[in-house]
Amino acid sequence: MNWDAKIIAFCCNWCSYAAADLAGISRLQYSGSIRIIRVLCSGMVHPQQVLHALEKGAAGVMIIGCHSGECHYLKGNELALARAEVIADTLEDLGYAKEQFEFTWVSSAEPERLVAAFHRMSARLADLDRDMPVTITGGAWQQNNET
C-alpha cells in the first residue's frame, strides 16, 4: 500500500473520540495513517466533506458515531446512518470504490472495537490498493490551473 495514504476518521465527540482517547491511554496500537477529526455529532458530517477528503487524496474516510439509541443529540446517529448509505452508494457513481468509506458505531468504553475498526479499514484499503492501484494515488484528476 502507498504509505503516504491517509485515512480520515470523523469521530463523534461523545463516544468514538472518547474511545480514541481511551485507546491512547490504554496504549492500543493502530495504523499511523489514521487522521482523527473530532466532530460534535456523526450526523453533522455532510457527504460533501467525505467527497472532499477523497478528492484531496485521502485513501479512505470513516465516520464513527454512537450506538443506535445512545446519541447525545437523540437522533444524530440515525441521520448519519441514512447519509452513510447514500454516501456508500454514490461514491461508486463518482468513480471511487465502496471500500473507501466506512460507517461504524463505537461507544466511549470500547477502544478495542475502535482499534479493530481502524485495522479493518487499513487492511481493506491495502487489499483495494492491490486490486485498483490507481484509486488510492489520489488527486489524479486534479489539474493545475494555468495562467
Binding site: Q48, L51, A82, D89, T135, Q142, N145, E146
Partner: protein
C-alpha cells in the same frame, strides 16, 4: 472609447450565443455600449495569418471576453489560452463553460468508448471513424480547469437579460449582484414538509388543477417527481418563477450546483436521505450530473485487476 467585446465558442451548441441575440431590444442598447471585435457566430475572423501550421492563435485584444462551451478538443486549448491572454475580464458563459454541461456527460466513458458507441454499435451500422473528425480529448473540461475565470454565468442557456446586464455592468463599471440561491428560492409551489417516500418514474405526471395558479400546486418533489430544484443554482426565471416550473415540469438542474464545488448528485442524494425518501427508487442516478460532469465529477468506471468490474 467603447469597451471591446470578444466572444468565443468552444465545445458547445451555440445556444448561449443565440440566447444573447435573443435578448430583444436590450441587444440594441448593448451594441451601442460595446464594440464587438471577435464573434465567430456573427462575423468572419481568421485565427492565424496563414503563414504556418504550428503558429499561435491570434485573437484581437478586448476588455470583456465571453467564452461558451467547455474544452473537448485539442484545438480548444490554444483558443482558450489566447482568449485569456487577450481579454481583461473573462466570462464563462453557459453551463458548458462553467460545469462541462451536456458534452461532459461523455466523461463517464473513455473517449475511445464514446467514439465506438457513436460510430459502431448494434444500433448503428458499423462505420469507421471518419478521418475528418478531430480527435476527442480524454474528457471534457470546464474552462476554469484550464484558465482563470473572472465571472461565471451558468445556464443552459443563461437568461438573456442576465447576459446583457452583466456585460453592461462591466462596460459601465457598475456593481451587479448575481443570483446565488437555489431554484427553490423563487418557486411558489406549496411545501407541506411531508411528501412521498419514493421517487416516481420520469413518465409520472404531477397532480394539479389546471385552472389554479402555480402557487396552489404542491411541490413536485413532495409529489414524488425528481425535481433538482434544491441542488441547482437559481436565476433561470430572474426573480420570478423558474422556467421549467412555469410549465409544471420538474427542474432538470441546468444551472449546475448552487455552490462552486458542489456536487448535484451527492447533494440531491443527501437531501433525499435526510428527508426519508428512498433514494434507491431513482433510476440512473448518474444522470443527475448531466449538466455538471466536468471537474472530474463524472469518470469512467475503474477496472479491478483480474478484469472484475467494480460493482
Amino acid at each position: 472609447m467603447k469597451p471591446k467585446l470578444s466572444c468565443e465558442w468552444l465545445h458547445g451548441c451555440s445556444g448561449c450565443e443565440i440566447a444573447l441575440l435573443n435578448s430583444g431590444e436590450l441587444l440594441l442598447s448593448l451594441f451601442q455600449q460595446v464594440d464587438i471585435v471577435h464573434f465567430p457566430l456573427l462575423m468572419d475572423h481568421k485565427y492565424t495569418d496563414g503563414a504556418g501550421d504550428d503558429e499561435e492563435v491570434s485573437l484581437p485584444e478586448a476588455d470583456i471576453g465571453l467564452v461558451t462551451g467547455g474544452v473537448g478538443l485539442e484545438s480548444h486549448h490554444g483558443v482558450l489560452k489566447a482568449m485569456r491572454r487577450q481579454c481583461r475580464i473573462l466570462i464563462a458563459l453557459g453551463t458548458c463553460a462553467v460545469h462541462g454541461g451536456i458534452p461532459a456527460m461523455r466523461n463517464q466513458w473513455t473517449a475511445g468508448c464514446t467514439m465506438e458507441t457513436v460510430f459502431s454499435t448494434a444500433t448503428t451500422e458499423a462505420a469507421p471513424v471518419p478521418d475528418a473528425v478531430p480527435a476527442l480529448l480524454d474528457r471534457v473540461l470546464s474552462i476554469d480547469e484550464q484558465v482563470r475565470v473572472d465571472v461565471s454565468l451558468p445556464g443552459c442557456p443563461p437568461r438573456p437579460k442576465m447576459i446583457v446586464s452583466v456585460v453592461e455592468a462591466l462596460a459601465q463599471q457598475k456593481k451587479l449582484r448575481l443570483p446565488y440561491k437555489s431554484v427553490c428560492e423563487t418557486c411558489p409551489t406549496v411545501r407541506t414538509g411531508k411528501g412521498q417516500a419514493v421517487i416516481r418514474r420520469g413518465t409520472a405526471k404531477p397532480e394539479y388543477t389546471p385552472d389554479e395558479p402555480l402557487s396552489r400546486m404542491r411541490c413536485l418533489l413532495e409529489q414524488g417527481l425528481l425535481c433538482m430544484g434544491p441542488v441547482t443554482a437559481g436565476g433561470c426565471g430572474g426573480r420570478e418563477v423558474p422556467l421549467c416550473l412555469r410549465s409544471r415540469v420538474p427542474c432538470r438542474g441546468c444551472y449546475g450546483p448552487v455552490h462552486e464545488g458542489g456536487n448535484q448528485l451527492l447533494d440531491m442524494m443527501n437531501a433525499l436521505a435526510s428527508n426519508g425518501i428512498d433514494y434507491r427508487t431513482i433510476i440512473d442516478r448518474k444522470s443527475l450530473l448531466r449538466f455538471s460532469g466536468a471537474h472530474g465529477r463524472l469518470r469512467p468506471e475503474k477496472k479491478r485487476r483480474g478484469g472484475q468490474q467494480l460493482s
